[in-house]
């Protein structure tokens, strides 16, 4: 290739192209490189490439070249990777870097092609934060729909407390006060106050949390932590909730609150599907089991009116709803949450009438598990 063609190629490339010698000094700095890093070619040619780097590579780069040129295995050449770079104004930004090697007689040259990832990252970040906010709004929406059930669930212990206290007062009015019974009553009042507090604590935890906290989870625990809210919702309609956990399930990686949100969304739909009828005694069954691919399957089965056939997989699309006052975002949010954990959320008709939703999550250490 003649020099003029090479120069034209350099100038036209969208990605930054930088050539260095075997001591790490810059020989060529393309137009795109000037724009990306904010350095004029004239200012950086002859300087050490590490002026374009962020720590820890910045101070280690001379060592990398020396190790490689004295016969070491290359860590980056021919592979490409994502690293952090540094602009003239000191801003550190993410780039994708591919490095090639050229030999000109006895001289070695290294060619770096650098793509700025900051716009892509920012877009990803925006999408993630939107998803997060949507999920959060979804939780509020859910809680709004469940308000009656939750009020009932708090009213139960309050009612028990009032009755225990009144029974205690009557015990005191007897001539021979039964101290053991009074002690028993006080203990029970204490238990019930805690029970009411627990409902509120669960509620707060569910509503408040906004950051994603992906961690190793025992699915049975996740279910146990949200069952109060699920039961509150179902019980207010006279619908039974049964939980069946298979023993010794593998752990999964997910955000506990988001997984609970998915469960609550599914059971919320089940409650709506059974409000007008269905088999309330068999009610809703939440079952956890090992999946065929070694992960964990959580099924939510109800005995309500089911999903009409013409909707099919559309139920997972936003704003598709069969409810008169529903927003139609619950299942869309749920599927997004499960997919972000590398899992799937699917629907099937219940042969006994009703719906079966299946969450299939990969095991924590399986290769399909998302990071």
């Amino acid at each position: 290739m003649v020099a003029a063609e090479f120069q034209a190629l350099l100038d036209a490339a969208v990605d930054a192209i930088i050539v260095i010698d075997e001591r790490g000094h810059i020989i060529t700095f393309s137009r795109a490189a000037e724009r990306m890093f904010g350095h004029a070619a004239a200012d950086v040619v002859g300087k050490n490439i590490n002026v374009l780097m962020a720590e820890p590579h910045r101070s280690r780069h001379d060592g990398y070249i020396e190790r490689y040129t004295s016969g070491g295995e290359p860590h980056i050449i021919g592979k490409g990777r994502e690293v952090e770079a540094r602009r003239a104004n000191g801003e550190v930004f993410p780039v994708s870097l591919a490095v090639g090697e050229a030999t000109d007689g006895h001289k070695r040259r290294f060619v770096g092609i650098v793509r700025d990832l900051s716009a892509q990252r920012a877009a990803e970040q925006r999408a993630r934060s939107l998803e997060l906010r949507l999920a959060h709004v979804g939780r509020f929406n859910l809680m709004g729909e469940m308000a009656a059930g939750i009020a009932h669930e708090i009213n139960q212990p309050l009612s028990a407390i009032a009755t225990y206290a009144q029974a205690g007062k009557r015990v005191l009015e007897h001539s021979a006060v039964d101290v053991a019974m009074l002690a028993d009553i006080c203990g029970k009042i204490d238990d019930q106050a805690r029970r009411a507090g627990q409902v509120i604590a669960n509620l707060r935890k569910f509503i408040r949390k906004q950051d994603i906290d992906t961690q190793s989870l025992d699915v049975a625990h996740v279910v146990a932590d949200v069952i109060t809210l699920i039961e509150a919702d179902a019980r207010s309609e006279g619908i039974a909730v049964h939980v069946r956990n298979e023993e010794a399930l593998p752990r999964v990686r997910a955000d506990a609150v988001q997984l609970q949100q998915v469960l609550l969304n599914l059971t919320r739909n089940s409650v709506d599907a059974m409000r007008g009828g269905g088999d309330k005694g068999r009610g809703i069954v939440i079952a956890t089991q090992r999946s065929e691919r070694g992960g964990v399957k959580i099924t939510v089965t109800d005995h309500g009116h089911g999903v009409s056939a013409h909707l099919g997989d559309n139920i997972f699309h936003p704003f598709v709803t069969t409810k008169r006052d529903g927003l139609g975002v619950g299942l869309a949010i749920s599927r997004t949450i499960i997919q972000s954990c590398g899992g799937t959320l699917t629907y099937a008709d219940n042969p006994d009438g009703g719906s079966i939703f299946t969450i299939d999550l990969p095991a924590e250490h399986s290769p399909t598990s998302a990071t």
Binding site: A148, A151, H152, N155, Q156, P157, L158, S159, A160, I161, A162, T163, Y164, Q166, A167, R170, V171, H174, M181, I185, K188, D191, Q192, R195, A234, R235, S236, E237, G238, I239, A240, V241, K280, G281, G283
Partner: protein, 214 residues
């Protein structure tokens, strides 16, 4: 051992704490009760022969309070029901009331309020049973009448004079008077007014086949 003639409270609530606290309240004032965690359990154990009332949560998984009331109505079990309701259960309460529920208390309730309602319900059940016993006695006595006596009784209740009855049945007026006297004796009644009231109370008596006696 509880004595079987003591009035009994059946307590049905799926919430263990609510059930337990109410049980404690009843125990503290010496009321007899049996408690059940579900409507079905209660239905299996319910003894209709005993003076009782039912205190039940209106919202329960499985068979709800309203469905339980429906089952009892189908079985013609006239046990008075006091429903325990939460906030926002007004529409349900109205339905229950229309289906004959005795009363309501809203959670959380005052103990005296509930206890007063229970006493009233038990009293009402007692009166209903007493009334029912009297009706059964009237029916039993009417069953002792001969077909001819029964015929005469029905005509008397309808307001026919002895002369008319005698003509219709083709017997003497004296015979009609004898039948009438036997009817009053067997039914242990003193006047026509009492007879009309008694027959009215059991909803009338089926007409006897007069063709066979003519």
């Amino acid at each position: 051992m509880k004595k079987n003639d003591e009035p009994l409270i059946y307590l049905v609530d799926d919430d263990e704490a609510v059930r337990d606290s109410l049980g404690m309240l009843f125990r503290s004032i010496g009321l007899h009760f049996e408690s059940y965690g579900s409507a079905l359990e209660f239905l299996q154990r319910y003894d209709s022969a005993r003076q009782s009332c039912l205190v039940a949560d209106i919202r329960m998984p499985g068979l709800s309070g309203l469905e339980l009331q429906q089952r009892l109505n189908e079985q013609r079990a006239e046990i008075p029901i006091i429903f325990i309701t939460g906030h926002g259960d007004v529409p349900m309460a109205v339905t229950a009331m229309k289906s004959g529920a005795a009363d309501f208390v809203q959670k959380p309730f005052r103990d005296q309020d509930l206890i007063d309602r229970i006493h009233k319900a038990l009293e009402r059940d007692g009166e209903r049973r007493k009334g029912r016993a009297e009706e059964d006695a009237i029916r039993a006595r009417i069953a002792l009448l001969t077909p001819r006596e029964n015929e005469v009784m029905q005509r008397v209740v309808r307001g026919q004079a002895n002369k008319v009855i005698a003509m219709d049945l083709g017997v003497s007026q004296r015979t009609v008077e004898l039948h009438r006297a036997r009817v009053m004796r067997k039914l242990k009644l003193r006047s026509v007014a009492e007879l009309v009231h008694a027959v009215d109370r059991i909803g009338g008596v089926p007409a006897v086949d007069t063709a066979a006696t003519q």
